[in-house]
């Protein structure tokens, strides 16, 4: 596997450092060749920078990508927005040589050149495609058998597909495959691909942001899921923080929001508090208790089967 760097983005390091913690723990658990790279800026955030100055949006992203060209490493990010923005600019510059030359004439003045020759990937498709399901299954010591988990993909993990090219943009499967590899049921639901709506919180429309969070959380509450899984700090903010705010106002949902890396870390046997699961605003206590109980039952069943095999000599498949 080629060396890669992690693009943490602004939100994880500013607001949710525990998500960085769980990401590092699983990367190290799989002994993956990653390293930190100095010099990154904001990706930059499309809905903010591109709305105001398209040229600067392209230039800033191109500068971040040029740092990869200089270091000769791929990029992986646990933030959907960062990957989507960088990949969109990458694809725009590959398709438009005039624009690429213009960008490079500016980057040359600070000693950089955009080539865009390294892979830019989100952590979820990276684990699916590069680490692979069999290797993941090998690392799992405490599976989620019997747990019902609802996946929220996050728009920018998969769209725009012409730039990301990592899953079906309207019927994605990779995150589902990973959750199933950890033993859980991936609960299918009507609003699965609905945008989280967090963007509205960034344009002074908090009530509308809550409206979006409520739609999904109400459906998941009715379906009695054990948790929601996602891998985007913005979606995390929407469903953990805004769920907490709505609960304070009286509407109870009780749906813990677990990051992909936290679920994987738990299944690999790491302690919830070491992964930072205790830093969430919506507590995961019920989820963890049920999971522990099911694992006790699972190990008792395994023990029973072992005794049956010994006693009667029945070959188990």
């Amino acid at each position: 596997m080629k060396d890669f760097t992690i693009f943490w983005g602004c939100t994880i390091q500013t607001r949710f450092p525990f998500l960085e913690k769980s990401t590092r723990m699983v990367l190290e658990g799989f002994n993956l060749p990653y390293r930190d790279l100095d010099g990154f800026t904001c990706c930059p955030e499309k809905s903010l920078v591109n709305n105001i100055d398209h040229g600067l949006w392209v230039l800033t992203a191109a500068r971040n990508i040029a740092l990869l060209d200089k270091a000769g490493v791929d990029l992986v990010s646990p933030c959907t927005g960062c990957v989507s923005n960088l990949a969109t600019v990458n694809s725009e510059l590959h398709a438009n040589h005039k624009e690429k030359d213009k960008v490079n004439s500016l980057l040359n003045e600070i000693g950089l050149e955009f080539k865009g020759s390294n892979k830019l990937r989100h952590l979820v498709p990276f684990f699916h495609d590069e680490v692979g399901i069999p290797a993941i299954k090998n690392k799992i010591v405490k599976p989620f058998n019997g747990m019902r988990i609802a996946i929220h993909y996050g728009c920018h993990m998969i769209r725009p597909s012409h730039a990301l090219k990592n899953d079906d943009p309207l019927d994605p499967k990779k995150f589902d495959n990973l959750i199933r590899a950890m033993g859980a049921e991936s609960v299918q639901y009507m609003t699965k691909l609905l945008c989280c709506g967090q963007g509205l919180d960034r344009v002074d429309q908090h009530e509308n942001a809550l409206h979006f969070a409520r739609i999904k959380l109400r459906e998941l509450k009715a379906l009695k899921v054990d948790a929601m899984a996602l891998c985007c700090p913005s979606c995390y903010l929407q469903f953990d923080n805004n769920q907490f705010l709505m609960e304070k106002e009286g509407e109870k949902f009780g749906i813990p929001i677990l990051y992909f890396t936290e679920l994987l870390g738990l299944a690999m046997g790491y302690k919830p508090e070491d992964l930072g699961v205790d830093s969430h605003r919506i507590e995961a206590t019920n989820f963890l208790e049920k999971w522990n109980r099911l694992n006790c039952e699972l190990s008792r069943t395994t023990e029973l089967n072992r005794q049956l095999e010994e006693g009667f000599g029945i070959a188990q498949p």
């Binding site: 943490w8 602004c10 939100t11 390091q13 500013t14 607001r15 450092p17 525990f18 960085e20 913690k21 590092r24 930190d36 790279l37 100095d38 010099g39 990154f40 800026t41 904001c42 955030e45 499309k46 809905s47 903010l48 920078v49 591109n50 709305n51 105001i52 398209h54 040229g55 600067l56 230039l59 800033t60 500068r63 971040n64 500016l106 980057l107 003045e109 600070i110 728009c155 920018h156 769209r159 725009p160 597909s161 012409h162 943009p169 309207l170 691909l193 609905l194 945008c195 709506g197 963007g199 509205l200 960034r202 344009v203 002074d204 429309q205 509308n208 409206h211 979006f212 739609i215 930072g276």
Partner: protein
């Protein structure tokens, strides 16, 4: 965005296939991108620059993915936001975010104390200094380009 493709938008104004997948069309009352597009085509879009609708496009790219032109009305909404921002009509959070981005190159700084508590390594250095240099060069080139076009 550099410019809008009015030919594609003309088709958008009569299509609306993406209304069945756009999260804001489905869930926010009064959100109607085709009304905006029709006004853009007629040259009477001024009123939308002050309207909350143009900030309600979530840039989820659903419209882009199902659009047979691979265009989607997200382009029209982004154009309206750009023009609104130029006229100082961006929402206050957008203005704050932009200021922070230009000043620091990021939308926040790593929390040193929390990192220590979590036993995380020191955060990698940001590229703020290089970024500021680049922005200066970019803005100077942009200004001289505008002057060239005017003369």
């Amino acid at each position: 965005m550099e410019s809008l493709n009015l030919k594609l938008l003309e088709v958008c104004s009569r299509c609306g296939a993406c209304y069945h997948i756009c999260p804001s069309c489905l869930n926010l009352e009064g959100y109607d991108p085709r009304a905006v597009i029709k006004d853009i085509l007629a040259g009477t879009y001024e009123k939308w620059l002050h309207h909350k609708s143009i900030w309600q496009c979530l840039e989820c790219h659903h419209c882009l993915e199902i659009c047979f032109q691979h265009y989607g009305f997200e382009n029209a909404m982004a154009a309206m936001r750009t023009v609104a921002s130029k006229k100082g009509l961006a929402t206050s959070q957008v203005k704050r975010g932009w200021d922070m981005f230009i000043k620091t190159s990021r939308l926040g700084e790593p929390m040193a104390s929390a990192r220590k508590k979590l036993n995380l390594p020191e955060a990698a250095k940001s590229g703020a200094e290089d970024f500021k240099k680049l922005v200066k060069i970019y803005q100077e080139k942009k200004k001289s380009g505008v002057k060239r076009n005017e003369s």
